[in-house]
């Protein structure tokens, strides 16, 4: 990384910023005091955020409504530079489109709710359809008409009696057989008796006819209601048509959303400029290789001056990883962990081969590996997914290849699928050995593999120490273990290397001296730089105590065995379940179904396990041996778009080379 200072005239300020955003190759450096936690504010910011969030809601809504829009939103839409420019008129038009869309949505909601009301009323009316009376007439000059339902026979007969006795001017008509409940009634009552009849009804188990917008008999009212429902539905169709018309502009709306986001980011970046009356200056980080090209590109367009120099030794600069195509696939593992310091070795190249191998061992099955490779290849090359998930899928893609290789080594093909299906006549051969038969062997190899992994981690530690100019401390931390660990392994395992007692004795002797030499090295050098000999000795002793953490680290690799067994045993259980239905044709059909379901499930679970446990071995065991950390990844100022990707430069301008 290099530090670059750009000096220019104020009138060029926004254009320079635009150009830098288009290149996407510089990160603005906040000079001097710590990062100020400025929060964007002001009317312009609020407007921008408001329109953006409304646009986003609108686009989300359109995506749900229209499958073709959904297809569009799956990938970023390629647009040209000139498409990313908006005139004031167009902006106004798009904003009014947002307003219109929101109004349409609320219209649609209103129509829907009146349809719901009408449908409810229609259901309430259903009970009255056979009554051939105009239900909208409830009053004559001197009488009132009441329709309702008695829900209780005693209540009804009591009411009938009361009528005869107390209300001579009121007539009751039964619309149903009074023995059946509920019984509908019509009551004609003189207006002067109405309040008292009402009071009497309120005391009975009686319910008035629902208060509906009657237009005649119940049947006629139903017809009107159906008509109104149809009208509302037509209105909704019209609204939907208009929404579909707006959907024609969805690409433009998406672009506008992104343009607003970029505009916001630009104005935030502008706040970081240092300004005088006529000029501005800007401090940025640039990748050293690109610094000159970027400066030249700026000079060719604007009246600016620039200056760049490499970051000073020991200065913390943003970290940009640079690796070959294979190693680059594993960068996401580091990104998930956190950024290394800019002054330490990039851990990815030493980690990548181990990630590849460890993942493959944990998910060692030719069938599962092939499924994983096929699935991820489909996502990568056919669906062409983008962004963060693409990195993860690409990681699983290469890791799947490793699974196939290790599956062949350990003889796993969907567990023991071939053996089960052929009733033991065909076995999938193992190139090396089958972990189910000799788990102890795999346990030992897992740990041996762990030792190698950790030793590579320590080598990175030495390099880091060398880079920071303190090689001695790197050696003091590592050399004792390079001697002690192999020495101890040799002491434990000398018996299995040779049967000749003399050879074993020699090996033991060598091992003993390796351990002693390592311990002595630690005692003498662990406390280098400390003058007080007693303190120095204590420092040495306490560093030897680290042997316990080594024990834990190495044992941790036993998880490889556990995961190998887990994958293959679950696969075997699936196969076993599948064969429960025998070897008839139906049995094989059942087997196929169970196998597809079970193996897919096992693949998902085992892939997750392999992914997290491989990551853990890298993060905790290997990184623990050397990782310094505390840096931050290079986050260049660029146009962070959500829906569109801008493909060509304005006026065919040549962009300086940079990687994205």
């Amino acid at each position: 990384m290099s530090k670059m200072t750009i000096l220019g005239m104020n009138e060029d300020r926004d254009d320079v910023l635009d150009a830098l955003m288009r290149m996407g190759a510089v990160e603005i450096r906040e000079e001097g005091d710590e990062e100020t936690n400025r929060r964007p504010s002001g009317a312009a910011y609020v407007d921008n955020a408001d329109v953006r969030s409304r646009l986003k809601r609108m686009i989300d809504d359109l995506v749900l409504r229209f499958p073709e829009t959904q297809a569009l939103s799956k990938r970023k839409i390629r647009i040209s530079e000139s498409d990313f420019v908006f005139t004031t008129e167009e902006e106004k038009e798009l904003c009014s489109m947002v307003d219109r869309f929101e109004a349409l949505l609320s219209d649609r909601e209103a129509h829907l709710s009146s349809i719901r009301t009408l449908e409810q009323q229609r259901d309430q009316l259903a009970l009255w359809t056979d009554v051939p009376v105009d239900l909208s007439i409830r009053k004559t000059k001197t009488t009132s008409l009441i329709y309702g339902i008695f829900r209780d026979t005693t209540s009804l007969s009591a009411f009938e009696n009361d009528l005869e006795r107390d209300f001579p001017l009121t007539a009751l008509y039964l619309l149903d057989d009074p023995k059946k409940i509920p019984c509908r009634v019509a009551i004609v009552v003189m207006d002067e008796e109405l309040p008292r009849v009402r009071a009497r009804l309120a005391a009975s188990d009686y319910q008035d006819i629902p208060n509906l917008p009657f237009t005649g008999t119940a049947k006629e009212t139903l017809v009107t209601m159906e008509e109104r429902i149809r009208e509302e539905e037509n209105a909704i169709t019209l609204v939907d048509q208009e929404i579909a018309e707006i959907n024609e502009y969805v690409v433009r709306l998406m672009t506008y959303h992104d343009a607003l986001a970029v505009r916001q980011e630009r104005s935030e970046a502008r706040d970081k400029f240092h300004q005088s009356i006529y000029t501005f200056h800007l401090y940025v980080w640039v990748p050293t290789k690109e610094a000159e090209a970027i400066g030249q590109a700026l000079i060719s367009q604007f009246d600016v001056a620039y200056y760049h120099e490499k970051a000073a030794k020991g200065e913390e600069a943003p970290v940009k990883l640079q690796n070959n195509r294979f190693v680059r696939l594993f960068e996401i593992v580091l990104e998930m962990y956190g950024s290394p310091s800019s002054n330490e070795t990039d851990p990815v190249p030493s980690m990548a081969p181990f990630y590849f191998i460890l993942f493959g061992m944990m998910l060692s099955d030719v069938g599962y590996g092939a499924m994983l490779v096929a699935g991820t290849a489909w996502l990568l090359f056919k669906k062409k997914i983008e962004g963060e998930s693409r990195k993860l899928v690409a990681l699983l893609y290469v890791s799947g290849i490793s699974s196939i290789v290790w599956g062949a080594v350990f003889g796993g093909f969907f567990g023991d699928l071939l053996t089960t299906v052929t009733q033991g006549r065909v076995n999938f051969p193992a190139l090396w050995f089958n972990p189910m038969d000799s788990p102890i062997q795999l346990l030992l190899f897992s740990m041996l593999f762990g030792v190698i992994h950790l030793f590579v981690g320590m080598a990175v530690n030495i390099r880091n120490a060398y880079l920071s100019g303190d090689l001695m401390s790197g050696l003091a931390d590592t050399v004792p273990w390079y001697l002690i660990i192999p020495g101890l392994i040799l002491l434990l395992g000398s018996g299995s290397i040779s049967t000749d007692p003399n050879t074993v004795a020699t090996l033991n002797e060598v091992a003993k001296w390796m351990v002693i030499a390592g311990a002595a090295f630690a005692l003498v050098f662990a406390g280098h730089g400390i003058r007080n000999p007693i303190k120095r000795l204590f420092k040495g002793l306490s560093s030897l105590y680290g042997v316990t953490s080594w024990l834990g680290d190495i044992l941790s690799y036993s998880r490889i065995l556990a995961l190998v067994l887990a994958t293959s045993v679950i696969a075997m259980v699936v196969n076993m379940l599948g064969m429960l239905f025998g070897t008839s044709v139906l049995g094989y059909i059942a087997f196929t179904l169970i196998a597809i379901l079970g193996h897919t499930l096992n693949l998902a679970l085992s892939t997750l396990s392999a992914f997290v446990h491989t990551s853990r071995l890298q993060y905790v065991e290997m990184f623990g041996k050397f990782f310094v950390g505390g840096g931050s990844f290079f986050k260049p100022l660029r146009r962070n778009t959500e829906y569109v990707a801008i493909t060509e430069g304005r006026d065919g301008q040549k962009m300086p080379p940079h990687q994205t």
């Binding site: 045993v569 679950i570 679970l605």
Partner: protein
């Protein structure tokens, strides 16, 4: 007829191995599912990350099934062997204990670590890697217990 007790003990060992870790996993997954559902209501984009965190304490249940299978196949019960002595049966039970006990408790506690991780990624979605590692640390002991059980079971000669 004497050996029926041995066979019963083998079944008991298998039941221990598969039941207790399964209970632990189910408890943890259930609680995490509830929390994840609440988070999804706020931010549906976190689904993938939350699903991984929810699934982590599920492994103990699978290790349980693995232990069950090892016990059943090593004892020969799966292929119809009922000739197991009382001593052998007891050995299987003892061998099953690490997996059963540690599986149950580690799943429950891994659930707590996962829950913390879920809270972490609601605030910092980019730190899901760290959240996973914190939860996976707990699982180490389930794996060690599984290995103890497997190696123990495999060392019993039937």
């Amino acid at each position: 007829m004497n050996n029926i007790y041995g066979t019963i003990l083998v079944y008991f060992a298998g039941a221990l191995a598969v039941t207790l870790p399964g209970i632990g996993s189910a408890k943890a997954l259930g609680r995490l599912g509830k929390i994840a559902a609440g988070i999804i209501a706020e931010d549906p984009t976190l689904f993938g990350k939350l699903l991984i965190l929810q699934a982590l304490p599920g492994t103990q249940g699978i290790y349980g099934l693995l232990g069950w299978f090892m016990i059943m196949s090593q004892s020969g019960v799966l292929s119809g062997n009922t000739n197991i002595t009382l001593q052998q049966g007891l050995m299987f039970v003892m061998a099953a204990i690490p997996l059963a006990a540690v599986g149950l408790l580690s799943a429950a506690h891994q659930g707590w670590a996962s829950e913390g991780g879920m809270q972490l990624i609601t605030k910092r979605p980019d730190r899901s890697g760290n959240a996973i590692v914190f939860a996976v640390m707990v699982e180490t002991y389930a794996i060690l217990a599984l290995l103890a059980t497997i190696l123990g079971v495999l060392s019993i000669k039937v």
